[in-house]
Symmetry: C2
Subunit: 194 residues, 2 copies
DNA sequence: ACAGATACCAAGCAAGTGCTTGGTAGGTTA
DNA sequence: TAACCTACCAAGCACTTGCTTGGTATCTGT
């Protein structure tokens, strides 16, 4: 595979990612992607097996990159609360650096995970749940978090509140992912009451 | 319009609402709706002008009901913090009682608001933003909320974190909307730190 | 008994969907 | 220079989409 091929493929995949993120997977046609790339829809099939294969490649590589970071944090030598903070920071970094992929995951994972090909998405969800609820429970045990927390309920809030930020966060805007993560953690840990 | 007509229409609209909520507006076909109702797709057009008219009716009536409550809270005689709590409670009640409509709004509002017919959705969003940011600013002024809050950032967190609960909350499950709202407010106001 | 309304069916159309096929121009390698 | 490869085009196929048309069975009020 030559370098030019790699480049063109990556270019097309990037165009597709942005369209999928904007309009959703099902609402984006192969003609939309081809138009944005300045070619005909049939020509896409020289580079990719199918429309599904495109989104699969996007989600799979993003998930692998994300979980490398999560695994490193989980295995590191920190307190539960510090790990929680690190995971939040890593997640906002992902929203910043893999914005389209996160948006696609948020919008279309439920729909896609119904297909065999995307079964790994559900497995990832389970791992994510185990990671968060484990950290929360450890934090309570270590006395870093309040003992009266409903861990399952808090987990759902955390999971959704972190990832839903992809809907309004714009990479390259006023706020860095670090700033957003810090503000978020401040609210989450200390509350907004005076 | 006889009572039977009203009933059948409402029945069909309810079936459509559940399908739209589950799979999204664009991913639900008129044949899906008709199948679920046990009729042919063409027969739907005896009751409704179009697929768009169905979702329009659902979203419009839901939004009107919700804003009646919001307006009453805003006009009531309470402190900003109490109003904030009341609005959160009203929102979780809406998730409980108008589950499908909230889910449709969450999933498809961005797509639908691109059409002239659904321009009112954007106007509602502006009003919602004004309501929340106003309450937050009043709360800071009144000394009920921390003075160092980035109101715009906190607003985005609140808006999304409340409504995203529709993804996991199930009406008739273990938790009442009041319980969820109380837990949520506890986390939001006091934080999870020990 | 009959006129109208209601709720539906049977058939199908035009537009749009993902994808396939057979081909070509231009570059690279042997 | 011949063989091959990359990136694309032009045309179209099989299918799905929202919606339309003309008709029928059943009920209700007069």
């Amino acid at each position: 595979m030559t370098e030019a091929t790699q480049t063109r493929r990556a270019e097309l995949l990037d165009i597709a990612a942005k369209l999928f993120a904007e309009r959703g997977f099902k609402n984006t046609t192969v003609r939309d992607i081809a138009d944005a790339a300045g070619i005909l829809s049939g020509s896409l099939y020289h580079h990719f097996d199918s429309k599904e294969a495109m989104v699969d490649e996007l989600l799979d590589s993003f998930q692998n990159a994300l979980w490398e970071e999560y695994d490193a944090i989980e295995a590191s030598d920190r307190t539960p609360k510090e790990k929680l903070e690190a995971v939040v920071h890593a997640s906002f970094d992902a929203i910043d650096q893999h914005h389209s992929e996160v948006a696609i995951f948020q919008t279309d994972a439920a729909y896609l995970s119904g297909f065999d090909r995307f079964a790994y998405l559900q497995e990832r969800n389970v791992r994510f749940r185990d990671l968060w609820t484990g950290l929360l429970r450890d934090g309570v045990t270590a006395g870093e978090l309040r003992a009266d927390l409903d861990v399952e309920l808090v987990y759902r809030f955390l999971r959704d509140t972190v990832w839903v930020a992809v809907r309004w966060y714009r990479p390259g805007g006023d706020l860095t992912p670090t700033q957003v993560a810090d503000q978020y953690l401040h609210i989450l840990l200390e509350g907004i009451s005076q």
